[in-house]
């Protein structure tokens, strides 16, 4: 029996929910990348004659107050909707893993300092941070992304530290020391690669949260600026349409946020299960 | 007292090639101590838990588990509760994982008594007596303490006290001393054997350690890959093992009193993904012949023993 057939034989049956989550995300990413191709209209094209019209053959999900096509705005909105969280998750994962593993590996005073620093950031309200950064950088994607990256780093950092400490107590790490490897090599070659999969699982879940937080900031007017389509901003703009009896302009981006967040959570859980199933 | 007939437990097809338990039959008479010995994955713990109706999820189960003539597997939830509360008690491997850490020792020991309708005061008095019986100093004070204030050995004694509280007829012990130090193990086993004999309880003692089983059991079943391969009274089993696997286990166990160094059994135990046509032990057996790999042996009576080996009747064993 070769290693490959062994692998197949023992592999757990893929969890259907996870597969569905991955499929949803794949569609989302494809749509975001191919937005100009798949969107039926220009998301910025104003057509007052169609304002607040319900679903029709021309506007599948209706049009907003300015008569812009909701579906097209939704499709283009996926770009900012996914790019923002992607940046946040990438930055916070890298920074958090570095800080967490460093704290665990060095221990002692350095650990105490790093852990307290992370606690401090943790305790600082993320929204306040975002608003002050907007004051510094001006509105747009930069300030919210930087703010959220900073705010998310301690979450990742704490997890990374915890996982690293657990791995470090395992004899394989001791065995490498006894073999004569230097601390740095052990840390980078053996500790980090065993810590990262669990962090990535958490980061996938964080992706959903970051998307929600960024949408909230856009909703409040601190994020992506109009007329660039963004789900959070769309919900905001759609709020007044709600009063005029048109549900879709607010409901559609809201549903998109929920579906995406849930999909990321499912995928994150799926990765976590996979990783822990592989543990022993 | 306890009778298991043809108990078969299998996972969903595709998840495992062979059943976890394959037609396991065993019995424990009133007041008898019976050992169930096997290595990891042999199914000994699953068998033991089945007596309390605790079977792994998503498994197909057939066969019967009778306690005092009543079938456990067809019991209702209330019936199972009653069974666990009054007639069968179990001691687990890791006491620290099996006792609720935030509750007091007194609550743990009296739990079953109070559920059985005994008033709290009286239950406490009984618990005090039980803790004294398992050798815990100052039992009155111990009742008020929490599990983390006890060592593993002391906690296992508490667990024994809790198991005895309901005065069960049958005690199930699943590797009760594996997590303990040798000298502590000796003490805990001494207490367990003493109380068991005194109260005339039957016991099914599950262990991977043949020597330990021999020290306290009257009769021993040996399991391999989900099947019982041999059953004999302890003395005879050691003097004349009938199954090559039992003989292999005996030869593999390092012994204080013997000059003979331990010899390993070649190969490794069967995983759930493997299901040979013939005898499950054939691949590791130095006595295996062609038909061992083709035909599956069944448990047969041979003088005072039961053996599942095609060559058991031949003189090759001696």
């Amino acid at each position: 029996m070769t290693a490959v057939t062994l692998h197949r034989r023992y592999r757990l049956p893929a969890d259907r929910t996870t597969v569905a989550g991955v499929a949803v995300l794949a569609v989302l990413v494809a749509v975001a990348i191919l937005a100009p191709v798949v969107a039926p209209h220009d998301p910025l094209a104003i057509d007052f004659s169609a304002a607040l019209s319900g679903p029709s053959a021309d506007h599948l999900l209706g049009a907003d107050q300015s008569g812009r096509d909701v579906l097209s705005r939704l499709i283009f909105g996926a770009r900012a909707g996914l790019l923002g969280p992607l940046l946040v998750v990438t930055l916070s994962t890298v920074a958090g893993t570095l800080l967490g593993v460093l704290a665990a590996w060095t221990g002692g005073v350095a650990d105490a300092v790093l852990s307290r620093a992370m606690d401090f950031v943790f305790a600082f309200p993320a929204l306040l941070l975002a608003i002050s950064l907007v004051a510094m950088f001006g509105p747009g994607l930069t300030a919210p992304v930087v703010a959220m990256s900073i705010a998310y780093t301690p979450y990742v950092g704490r997890l990374a530290r915890g996982v690293a400490l657990r791995e470090m107590s395992r004899p394989y790490i001791h065995a490498y020391r006894v073999q004569g490897w230097s601390g740095w090599v052990i840390c980078l070659r053996h500790l980090v690669p065993n810590v990262v999969p669990l962090i990535l699982a958490q980061s996938a879940i964080n992706f959903g949260y970051a998307l929600m937080d960024l949408a909230a900031l856009s909703f409040l007017g601190f994020g992506t600026q109009p007329p660039v389509p963004d789900w959070g901003a769309m919900i905001n703009e759609g709020a007044s349409a709600l009063l005029q009896g048109a549900m879709l302009p607010a409901l559609v981006p809201g549903a998109a946020v929920v579906v995406t967040v849930v999909a990321f959570s499912i995928v994150g859980e799926g990765i976590a299960d996979r990783v822990s199933g592989r543990e022993r | 007292m306890l009778q298991i007939n043809d108990l078969t437990v299998r996972l969903a097809p595709g998840q495992a090639a062979r059943p976890i338990l394959d037609a396991v039959s065993l019995r424990v008479a009133q007041g008898e101590a019976v050992g169930l010995v096997g290595e990891s994955g042999s199914g000994k713990s699953v068998t033991c838990r089945a007596v309390l109706g605790l079977l792994p999820r998503q498994t197909a189960v057939s066969g019967r588990v009778l306690v005092d003539g009543q079938d456990v597997l067809s019991q209702t939830a209330a019936g199972l509760r009653d069974l666990r509360r009054r007639r069968v008690a179990m001691i687990f491997q890791d006491p620290r994982a099996s006792i609720n850490p935030v509750r007091r020792i007194g609550d743990f020991v009296t739990e079953g008594l109070r559920a059985g309708g005994l008033p709290y005061r009286q239950a406490l008095d009984r618990a005090e007596g039980l803790l004294e019986a398992v050798g815990i100093e100052d039992p009155r004070a111990a009742l008020r303490r929490h599990p983390h204030e006890f060592s593993g050995g002391m906690l296992q004694r508490v667990m024994i006290a809790g198991a005895l509280a309901a005065e069960p007829d049958l005690l199930l012990a699943d590797e009760p001393t594996t997590a303990l130090d040798v000298t502590t193990q000796a003490e805990v086993i001494a207490i367990l054997s003493h109380l068991r004999t005194e109260r005339g309880m039957g016991m099914l003692f599950v262990t991977h350690d043949l020597e330990l089983a021999a020290a306290i059991c009257d009769r021993i079943y040996v399991m391999y890959a989900g099947r019982i391969v041999e059953e004999q009274a302890t003395g005879e089993l050691f003097a004349r093992p009938r199954h090559p696997y039992t003989a292999g286990l005996l030869a593999a166990t390092p012994r204080l009193e013997s000059h003979e160094p331990p010899h390993g059994v070649p190969g490794r135990p069967l995983s759930l993904a493997e299901s040979p046509d013939g005898c499950a032990f054939a691949a590791r057996c130095h006595l295996a012949v062609e038909r061992c790999r083709e035909r599956r042996p069944v448990l047969e009576t041979l003088e005072h023993a039961q053996v599942a080996c095609l060559r058991a009747g031949e003189p090759v064993h001696d």
Partner: protein, 271 residues
């Protein structure tokens, strides 16, 4: 008189005011085998960790062929030299290999670190080591999670042998394995010692195992050596009450709980 490869003198280690190891001394003959026996809290594991440099002793001396190794090594050269003196096999086969590293890579890594040899020579040496511990090509290509506990412990032994150590510490290396597998590993270790110039230090609680695996024995109790000597002699006529208690506690047919209780009382009287 054969030379001692390992000499330990007055080893002491405390953790936060609690003395774990208290003046432990022993020596190990070149190519010999010694068992350090004790239960949890006896200090046997801390002793092993100091020998391999995972803990630094508060006091005492550890010498291998006369070279001291009780302080932190200075620099890469010293660190590697020490790794070629003592190696260790850990208790838990499921956690002592990096789950991401294949068996052959696990052994090769070590060879690459310690010896300057070309790829071909390294692979030949790797195959030789794996063959010595009874692992074939199929196991070599596998990740640890595809292997059984016994096979993993063989990998750990091959990895340890890769540095060509003078002393191999076996820290309860067989206690997590099934009996039939434990005996295989003991067989294997005995065979290796017959062909290589290597000494074993068994860290264990199992006297029956010691009986068959070690020439000499050191009994630890609460961080102190309470008895030491040739295994046969100590097991035949134990002098210290703790050794007697330990001996009588080993389960076997005809095992006597009354004797054990008496031993414990005797121990309490003198401690």
């Amino acid at each position: 008189m054969t030379e001692n490869v390992l000499e330990v003198e007055g080893l002491r280690k405390a953790f936060g005011g609690k003395t774990a190891v208290d003046g432990v001394s022993f020596s190990l003959r070149a190519g010999g085998s010694l068992a350090v026996v004790g239960e949890s809290g006896s200090g046997k594991t801390t002793t092993a960790r100091m020998l391999v440099g995972l803990e630094i002793p508060d006091a005492g001396r550890i010498g291998v062929e006369g070279r001291d190794r009780s302080r932190v090594p200075r620099g890469r050269r010293a660190r590697l030299a020490r790794a070629r003196e003592i190696q260790m096999v850990f208790q838990d086969p499921y956690l002592s290999l990096d789950p991401r590293i294949s068996v052959s890579e696990c052994v090769e890594e070590s060879l690459r670190l310690h010896f300057a040899m070309d790829r071909q020579a390294r692979q030949a040496r790797r195959d030789e080591l794996l063959e010595r511990v009874g692992l074939g090509e199929r196991e070599a290509a596998a990740l640890p999670r595809r292997l059984s506990g016994g096979q993993r412990q063989r990998v750990a032994i091959a990895r340890a042998l890769a540095t060509e150590p003078k002393v191999l510490i076996l820290d309860e290396a067989t206690s997590a394995l099934d009996v039939s597998i434990q005996a295989q590993i003991l067989d294997l270790l005995a065979r290796i010692r017959r062909t290589l110039d290597i000494a074993y230090l068994f860290i264990t609680h199992d006297l029956a195992l010691v009986r068959h695996a070690a020439d000499d024995i050191v009994v630890l109790y609460r961080g102190k050596v309470v008895e030491a000597g040739p295994t046969e002699q100590v097991l035949a006529a134990p002098q210290h009450p703790y050794t007697r208690l330990l001996l009588h506690s080993v389960p076997r047919p005809g095992w006597d709980p009354v004797q054990i209780a008496a031993d414990r009382r005797a121990l309490q009287e003198i401690m």
